[in-house]
């Protein structure tokens, strides 16, 4: 949603502005972020900013779109280990690949998660569509798992979505917080210890989900 003037800008200038905005959101969150500071840190004038973007939300949405596009590219470059993965294995792969991606853009991811997980939780309205996109994706995966017979059809879909979303967020937050402390994020992320921790979290979700639901299905 940035205006055409912004898209016409030379690559470097665009990157300067983007990274100033990223730093701002990552440090202050959405509400407390200041356009004045973004402008000052990216070396453009106030007037130019308004020739590029509508307002603060417009820059933020631009960042969202950038990361969405890059992430899609990233996933296209990678491929699941096997063509016929079960839904849970696929979810594992999705999360892990996502984490690797996040680690290559830690500051950008931090900025966006901060706004989405924090203020977005309550603000709704402006960011509702983005939340719906992820909810819909997970819902489809769960229905897929049911069709494949991996999950009992009587499973509470709404609940399963909450559970998977909760875990995705929890793992992202954990990686983001811990990862920022490391000198070499990628190395840390790929270390056996870190991978084991992520695996454990995912298994907590998966086995919990399987066992609980089958137990409830059994009528206990």
């Amino acid at each position: 949603m940035p205006k055409q003037t912004f898209l016409n800008l030379p690559e470097e200038k665009r990157r300067n502005i983007a990274s100033a905005a990223i730093e701002e959101f990552a440090e202050f969150g959405f509400e407390a972020s200041s356009i004045n500071r973004i402008v000052a840190n990216s070396g453009i004038s106030k007037g130019s900013f308004y020739q590029y973007f509508e307002d603060k939300m417009d820059v933020f949405k631009y960042l969202m779109d950038v990361i969405a596009k890059e992430k899609t590219e990233y996933y296209k470059g990678k491929h699941p280990p096997s063509a016929n993965l079960g839904t849970f294995e696929y979810f594992h792969w999705l999360i892990k690949t996502g984490m690797e991606f996040n680690s290559s853009y830690p500051r950008l991811v931090q900025a966006i998660s901060r706004v989405l997980l924090a203020e977005g939780l309550y603000y709704g309205k402006d960011l509702a569509e983005y939340h719906k996109m992820s909810t819909d994706g997970i819902t489809m995966m769960i229905k897929q798992a049911m069709e494949n017979g991996e999950l009992d059809p009587s499973v509470d879909v709404e609940l399963a979505v909450i559970i998977m979303e909760t875990w995705t967020n929890a793992i992202s937050t954990y990686i983001l917080n811990e990862g920022m402390k490391q000198k070499d994020v990628m190395k840390w992320l790929r270390s056996a210890k870190t991978r084991e921790k992520i695996d454990k979290m995912l298994y907590v979700m998966e086995y919990g989900l399987r066992k609980t639901e089958s137990q409830f299905v059994a009528g206990i």
Copy 2:
């Protein structure tokens, strides 16, 4: 941390100020909340506000202390169903009783969770001590569970804390968001359907934790 002048105030005036602050934080979050509005809505003058509190954070901390005290009282009034509960049963009871408490002060809880879960996640510093309190509590419970033989001693304590915290937050958020839509929160909270949903979430956590860890302990 409010000043003595505030504590000397008549009950009703104090309650007016508190509820104006609660509404403000619940609606705008911490950063975007305005002392000017709080002052206007509680019918006191700006000067008085600064005679009662240091600043915005001071009011917020006051609310935190109020709820901490009231919650402690509430737990004292209730008693676990049995004296010799296992740690997991005890955790269930804690969460459920906590939810009932939260439903009696929905707006206050909403205000506080909003700031703690959202901005608090990243802000750290000012609110770190409150986070540490809950972390310490959960850590103690987990070590207790180990002593009781409910959890293998090789369980990763740090991980278990993250898992239990994640679920506590997820359930609180769910109840808060859904509960606000109901006309009669307490009735909704006590309905079989709601209780079942909470139960399921807790079992997802519990069984996941038990099974995962024992599996990893087995060396797979």
